[in-house]
């Protein structure tokens, strides 16, 4: 490589290298199976769902399914495959067999397992729970499975007529997932319309579903209890996948095509010959087209070793080859040294002796394990070498193609010689980006490597490159003025259409953004934090400042955080009656204002394209859409953060005197930002650092400006005043315990859970922060010499310093604390994307480029940018398997507000006068009572607040020495004895709780007591209503519940 050429034209080399890596990687994966087991299950199903009682009733958020049946004998093989959304928990005879991760919208979860050892003679049960986690997507489940018996008969497990359904975590003595639970009162499951479902499982489905047709085989002779077994088989074409199941009486090693993939180091001395464990391996990466050999070496001291194995391989053409252990296998006795690579036709290898019957390992007792293969270093070395060869091959091919195309272009159009050598490389961009996108897609549960890495797609990528080269040559050859004239429009007409196009694009983006935010503004129920926000909003109307008195026992208190937020809410009260709209409309409007602002800043600081790309990412971001309909300070603080950064830069822009107007505007914006959320104080440090760095050679203008000191003083006074107000409010009376309100900064790097990049990853606009982090790294590189370096440096210092300061000093970590940085991150990413596209477009700067080539390059860059937006916007690709860069942002239309509406309605319909109501969020419950008109003169209130772990601070009442909830005045239940006393003194007790969050503030003894003494009567998203009525259980039943209760605790009131 000529280093001078490289330095002169680095773009060509970058494009060539990127293409070689992307296409090389793609090609390698097409013909070399991944060692990661990923398989797609595809079915047309009629999923089961709950019968809807009436059209007016909201669909239930939980689906519980049960099937019970009797068996007179145990099956030789049984398997179960459950598909559904949005998450699955599956139990067989009371034991959990799998729990899927949460899947995003339009994805299907799957649980698949061998259930043979769990089935028994008599009554058997399968129980499934599927909760709803996304808007407008009620839970649905499809089941398939089979029990195969020794006589060949098969019982299907998926028939919907056999399944019963319910909507609550039921318990009638037994828990709902236990075999002996009586489900007669459950409804028949209803079948929905047919749908095509695809879901990913992490094991070869055939390894579970294909019946065991193998026989035990023994070596022909016995020598020291050791023997090798082997078999050759042919694959007609290149393999796509393959699996192997092995059952052995002794420790064993397995080799496929001479590559040792499983050794016996772990159980050599302790292998239990009486415990049958069938180990399953995904051997896809070890298979090859043509002749394959599998060898198994086993040693059993004192007796002849015996094995039983099944192997199945599938080729890309769909040909399946099944190889069971039988008389076709050969064996060599003793510890022979070349058992992995031996010639099976020699005399050392003799036919195996097939065993008859189960030989002590009855199918129902066989446990199954999925074991990852562990090939030696040589295997990985060869694989890497092959990988690099593919990259090299594509590098050479692409370079040759580009060189040839360049030569042809030069030949056809000599005037364009200076730039034509770069044009050919631009043709590599679309295929490179698409191949990269394919790689990203395999991290999504919707696609596996088998779906993406197909020869057809590879051919498509290659054709795409070749077609572009041909197109370039064609354009270069066709010197007819017609095309040039066609593409060289009249400039007036062109500009007119350009303006119309730009205007239309902006209308579409703004309209789409507004629609995405507004359509679900009341779809989510009110959140308990929104209840507090609404109360403070009313405080503004009543007192002119947010505050209020929640209970006569607790004195009047002024709001000490987010003070400014409630004034904007108050402005909405004349227009809306619904409290949700009062607190959410300002968020929506601030989000739209931020959209306009980010577009403006992108345009002013970089160019119009950056503004547009930033606006599109901002408009589509699921996180920002979710937060825009959440009635708290977040959208507001985000707007003021960006505004503050913009105004500050404009104030210190250049090298001369400060721009006073901008500086004061920045100060006001900072104050608004700080009063929206005082946590943004740390943004000020980043801002100061950015100003110092930007003005590092011209600081005198800053320090010599008296108004600068005045503005800083005003800001400092507001910060001090707010802090003093907060401290005074918090020390107004005694608080028990420590909570988030008593947060002070600490050196977090001294604590074990210090995570330096937490706020960087969590400031991404989607749940998958890999691409944003990549953009961040590129942005850092651009700060060195790019023409946008000054703006990028300023933005990056503000962003990185704030994120790092928060990680280093904030003892509390929450995703939303990084939300005010998200729009800065989007702006930086948009600048990176456009800078990359511009780099390619620099080719057309020369006047010598034909207009058609100019249009071609623009199309390429727009397409590449569009693919980048599609990949990173969070709607189309969800890399949920890439956990390293996962964060806690909102998914598309994800439910995030616990729904108290349904439980409260149920409670209202069944509450007696002398009933007791305990709540985990008493203030939220009080609000719901008030909204639904509970109580005659005075609204009904929750009586007790259950918090047996002192996580949130309690306070003492004015007239009695009882710890109270600060938010509602409800009396705190702080230990099990109090709970027991309450249960002894009262007949009917209701508990409004959350099935998982309950455990954060309650210890397991209290949770267990509630679980054992109360029944769930209603469930909604994240919430549950429990009742203790006439449901006392006798001691024997309580004893029986003990075991199941431990399992239940994994899933309920943990």
């Amino acid at each position: 490589m000529n280093i001078r050429t490289l330095i002169r034209t680095p773009l060509q080399w970058v494009l060539l290298l990127a293409c070689a890596v992307a296409l090389g990687d793609f090609s390698f994966r097409v013909w070399n199976a991944s060692p990661l087991a990923e398989y797609m299950v595809t079915r047309t199903v009629r999923p089961m769902t709950l019968a809807e009682n009436s059209k007016s009733e909201k669909p239930k958020k939980h689906l519980y399914l049960r099937r019970t049946w009797y068996m007179t004998e145990v099956p030789v093989q049984a398997w179960l495959e459950v598909l559904g959304h949005d998450r699955l928990e599956v139990f067989v005879n009371g034991r959990s067999i799998g729990r899927s991760p949460m899947v995003s919208q339009s994805r299907i979860a799957a649980v698949m397992n061998d259930i043979t050892p769990l089935l028994k003679v008599g009554r058997n049960s399968i129980a499934i729970h599927a909760p709803q986690l996304h808007l407008h997507r009620p839970p649905r489940v499809a089941v398939s499975g089979a029990c195969e018996f020794a006589d060949g008969s098969v019982t299907a497990l998926g028939d919907a007529a056999d399944w019963r359904a319910a909507a609550v975590y039921d318990r009638r003595g037994q828990y709902w997932f236990e075999t002996d639970f009586s489900d007669e009162h459950w409804e028949q499951a209803e079948m929905a319309d047919p749908e095509n479902w695809r879901a990913q499982v992490n094991l070869p489905p055939g390894a579970i579903t294909v019946p065991r047709r193998s026989q035990w085989i023994l070596p022909a002779d016995d020598l020291n209890g050791a023997a090798a077994f082997a078999r050759s088989f042919d694959l007609p074409s290149s393999p796509r996948d393959g699996w192997l199941r092995v059952l052995s009486t002794g420790p064993y090693r397995v080799s496929v095509n001479g590559q040792l993939m499983a050794d016996d180091h772990d159980d050599l001395a302790v292998k239990n010959p009486y415990r049958s464990v069938e180990q399953t391996y995904d051997i896809s990466p070890l298979l090859k087209a043509g002749s394959n050999t599998i060898s198994i070496f086993s040693a059993t001291i004192g007796e002849r070793p015996r094995i039983r194995a099944d192997l199945e391989a599938t080729t890309h053409n769909g040909v399946m080859v099944y190889v069971p252990t039988d008389h076709h296998w050969v064996s060599a006795t003793g510890s022979i040294d070349d058992w992995q690579n031996s010639d099976l036709s020699t005399n050392a290898w003799r036919a195996c002796e097939p065993g008859i019957g189960y030989l002590g390992a009855v199918p129902r007792s066989i446990e199954r394990e999925l074991v990852p293969i562990n090939p030696p270093l040589g295997f990985w070395g060869a694989r890497w070498a092959k990988y690099l060869c593919w990259i090299g091959l594509w590098g050479v091919l692409a370079a040759a193609g580009c060189a040839f195309t360049t030569r042809v272009l030069e030949h056809t159009n000599a005037e364009q010689r200076q730039v034509s050598d770069q044009l050919a490389y631009a043709a590599l961009v679309p295929s490179t980006v698409l191949a990269f996108a394919g790689g990203i897609m395999t991290w999504d549960l919707a696609w596996t490597a088998h779906d993406v890495y197909q020869p057809l797609w590879l051919l498509g990528l290659v054709i795409l490159v070749v077609a572009q080269w041909l197109l370039l040559v064609l354009i270069g050859t066709w010197k007819a003025d017609g095309l040039a004239t066609l593409l060289r429009w009249d400039s007036t007409q062109y500009h007119r259409w350009q303006l119309v196009g730009i205007g239309l694009c902006w209308v579409v983006v703004l309209g789409l953004a507004f629609w995405l935010r507004a359509r679900d503004i009341v779809a989510q129920p009110i959140h308990h934090d929104e209840v507090t926000a609404y109360a403070f909003t009313l405080g503004v109307l009543d007192h002119g400042f947010p505050g209020g008195q929640v209970d006569p026992e607790i004195p009047f208190g002024w709001c000490a955080t987010n003070e400014l937020t409630y004034y904007f809410n108050a402005l909405c009260t004349p227009f809306f009656d619904d409290p949700r709209l009062v607190v959410r409309v300002p968020s929506l409007l601030f989000s739209m204002a931020s959209l306009v602002l980010i577009a403006y800043v992108g345009w002013r600081w970089f160019n119009g394209y950056v503004g547009f790309v930033a606006a599109v990412l901002f408009a589509l971001s699921p996180q920002i859409i979710g937060m825009a309909t959440f009635g708290r300070y977040l959208s507001q603080v985000q707007f003021f953060t960006l505004l503050t950064m913009y105004l500050t830069f404009e104030a210190v822009r250049g090298t001369g005197p400060l721009r006073i107007g901008m500086m004061w505007a920045a100060a006001v914006s900072f104050i608004a930002m700080y009063l929206s959320w005082e946590g943004t104080g740390m943004f000020g440090m980043g801002l100061a650092l950015a100003v110092l760095f930007h003005r590092r050679r011209h600081l005198r203008w800053v320090f010599a400006c008296p108004q600068f000191y005045a503005a800083v003083t005003v800001v400092a006074l507001v910060v001090v005043a707010q802090n003093a107000h907060r401290v005074m409010q918090q020390t107004q009376r005694l608080w028990y315990g420590e909570g988030i309100s008593s947060l002070t900064i600490k050196p977090m790097w001294r604590y074990p859970f210090f995570q330096y990049d937490y706020y960087l990853v969590n400031s991404a606009w989607t749940r998958d922060a890999m691409l944003p982090m990549l953009a961040l790294a590129v942005a850092c590189a651009l700060t060195i010499a790019h023409r946008w370096r000054y703006h990028l440096r300023f933005s990056l210092i503000c962003f990185l310093a704030n994120a790092m300061f928060m990680a280093a000093f904030l003892p509390v970590r929450t995703n939303r604390y990084a939300y005010h940085l998200t729009e800065i991150f989007i702006l930086i990413t948009a600048a990176v994307m456009v800078a990359g596209s511009e780099k390619i477009l620099q080719i057309v700067r020369s006047d010598l480029v034909l207009p058609a080539h100019r249009w071609y390059l623009r199309t390429v860059t727009v397409a590449a940018t569009a693919i980048g937006i599609v990949l990173s916007c969070g709607w189309f690709v969800r890399t949920s398997e890439m956990t390293r860069f996962a964060n806690a942002s909102f998914d598309v239309r994800q439910l995030h507000c616990p729904d108290w509406e349904g439980p409260t309605r149920y409670l209202m319909n069944h509450l007696h006068d002398d009933d007791i109501v305990i709540s985990i969020f008493p203030h939220s419950q009080d609000y719901m009572f008030a909204v639904h008109g509970m109580g005659d003169s005075m609204p009904r209130k929750a009586d007790y607040w259950l918090e047996s772990r002192l996580i949130l601070q309690a306070t003492l009442g004015d007239s009695q020495d009882l710890p109270l909830d600060r938010r509602s005045g409800a009396v705190m239940l702080y230990n099990l004895d109090q709970v027991k006393q309450l249960f002894a003194e009262n007949k009917r007790i209701w508990y409004c709780t959350m099935r998982t969050s309950q455990s954060k503030i309650n210890d397991s003894a209290v949770s267990k007591y509630f679980r054992e003494n109360m029944d769930v009567v209603f469930e909604d998203f994240g919430t549950a209503l429990m009742l203790r009525d006439a449901n006392h259980r006798s001691a024997p039943i309580q004893l029986e519940e003990e075991t199941a209760g431990w399992l239940a605790s994994e899933f309920y009131l943990k």
Binding site: D266, D338, Q340, F693, L699, F703, E738, I951
Partner: protein, 466 residues
């Protein structure tokens, strides 16, 4: 008066002007290219002396405490170096780094055009230093792996006392450090070459910082900058290969031994293993060597201490503790045993003690913990387990435990374990009615760890008398 006031105004104006000039210049100097380079080098200095290895329980190992390699006379083995205070060593990996950094600070002020080379040298030396730390001390890494398992034992012991202890509720500090590793990852087997990365802390940060410094301070276009960085990385890799050469020889021979073993050529495997031992003699004390040698002996149905060690280890993994103890104990009792044998026996006895505790046989558990602590005194988990068991069975001995054990808790780097131990002492004092001492201990526990949302519940409620 007007003249005086004019003079005063002039004086104030000049003072103000001087102050402005000074502040502006100071800011300009700090934010100048040289200033930023010096700040970056100082940051590298902090990283070079900071923690580079983090065990699950013991205190972090700083770069200044870790030698390049085991010297011919002085061995850097855990039984000698695990306890704090650990001396700063002249043969530590940090010394050349600090020299480069100090020289770099001078050069950055004197010849700023050489700054890129300073960062390049720092990059090369830091790569080799990190490689030496990760691969030249296999015994130390095995000690860390043992501590991960011992941390699991402590979790069980603390949970027996209270479910709200931090040790029980919070995952250990390795798993939560940057949330790099899940429980499955940290407990899953991994090749010994990759294992040290689990315990690595700030060493790789120094490499990243030096690389950024090299690329950022090199003047030129991007290919030149990256080529410069690449060259220094290459130099660093060569240095690293030279520094860790014996380890790679070991891995080569070990791979040969494993290949021979898998081909049932056991004598050839033993010969390869002997070559590996020649390349790095300190391997003789490691569990890895004992296990492989023992496995080969077991396959050949030989009866020796290596085979016993291998079998005992397999029985330990399978949960058959009595058999495991019977196999290993006699070797240790007879000859004292090497560190690997002692560590294995202590681990077996530790598990036995945990089981005693689960069955509330506190007397037997205390004796078992004591035995384990005697056999492997460099491992803090055992004496902590013993002390917690004593407090559970006999709270009146709280004062005795405090005097004997509390000073030793400075050996412990895991603040969850330390904090919970103070809470246990507080509980014991509370039970016997020494409320002042109990409150003191609960306060100590909260000082060690107590954050909003990560509340030290047990200590907090104890201090509140709940």
């Amino acid at each position: 008066m007007p003249a005086q006031s004019t003079q005063l105004a002039s004086w104030i104006e000049r003072a103000w002007d001087a102050a402005l000039t000074a502040v502006s210049r100071l800011g300009a100097v700090v934010m100048s290219s040289r200033g930023l380079v010096i700040l970056a080098l100082l940051g590298c200095g902090v990283l070079a002396t900071g923690p580079w290895l983090r065990p699950a329980i013991s205190r972090d190992f700083r770069a200044i405490q870790i030698p390049w390699t085991d010297g011919p006379t002085e061995s850097f083995l855990p039984e000698f170096v695990a306890e704090v205070p650990r001396p700063w060593r002249l043969d530590s990996v940090a010394i050349p780094l600090l020299v480069v950094i100090l020289a770099g600070i001078v050069i950055a002020g004197w010849r700023p055009q050489w700054t890129s080379r300073v960062f390049g040298i720092l990059l090369a030396v830091s790569i080799s230093a990190v490689a030496a730390v990760l691969w030249n001390h296999p015994g130390l890494i095995e000690f860390f792996e043992g501590e991960v398992r011992e941390r699991g034992m402590l979790r069980v012991v603390y949970r027996q006392r209270n479910e709200d202890t931090l040790t029980n509720r919070a995952p250990d500090r390795l798993r939560v450090f940057g949330e790099k590793y899940s429980r499955e990852t940290i407990e899953s087997p991994v090749h010994p070459i990759m294992a040290p990365f689990r315990y690595s802390v700030y060493g790789p940060w120094l490499i990243a910082a030096a690389f950024v410094g090299t690329v950022a301070t090199r003047v030129g276009r991007w290919p030149q900058r990256l080529a410069c960085g690449g060259v220094w990385v290459g130099v660093g890799l060569l240095l690293a290969a030279a520094v860790t050469g014996p380890r790679w020889a070991v891995e080569y021979h070990w791979a040969q031994a494993e290949a021979a073993e898998n081909s049932n050529q056991l004598v050839a495997a033993e010969q390869s293993l002997a070559k590996a031992l020649n390349a790095m003699p300190q391997l003789a004390d490691t569990s890895r060597y004992w296990l492989t040698t023992g496995r080969l002996a077991y396959r050949q149905q030989q009866s020796n201490q290596y085979a016993d060690y291998f079998e005992a280890n397999q029985y330990l993994v399978a949960g058959r503790l009595s058999r495991a103890r019977a196999l290993i104990e006699h070797s240790v009792r007879k000859s004292g045993g090497v560190a690997a044998q002692r560590a294995l026996l202590a681990e077996v006895i530790g598990h036995i003690a945990t089981r005693y505790g689960l069955h509330k046989k506190y007397g037997a558990a205390e004796i078992a913990w004591g035995e384990a602590a005697d056999i492997a005194p460099w491992k803090p988990a055992y004496w902590i387990g013993q002390a917690v068991t004593v407090l559970a069975s006999d709270p009146t001995r709280a004062a005795e435990v405090e005097i004997a054990i509390l000073p030793r808790m400075r050996q412990v780097g895991d603040c969850f374990v330390s904090s919970d131990f103070a809470s246990m002492l507080g509980d014991a004092y509370f039970e016997v009615g020494s409320f002042y001492d109990a409150r003191d201990m609960y306060s100590k526990a909260m000082n060690l760890f107590h954050l909003p949302k990560h509340v030290n519940l047990h200590a907090q409620e104890g201090r509140l008398g709940m």
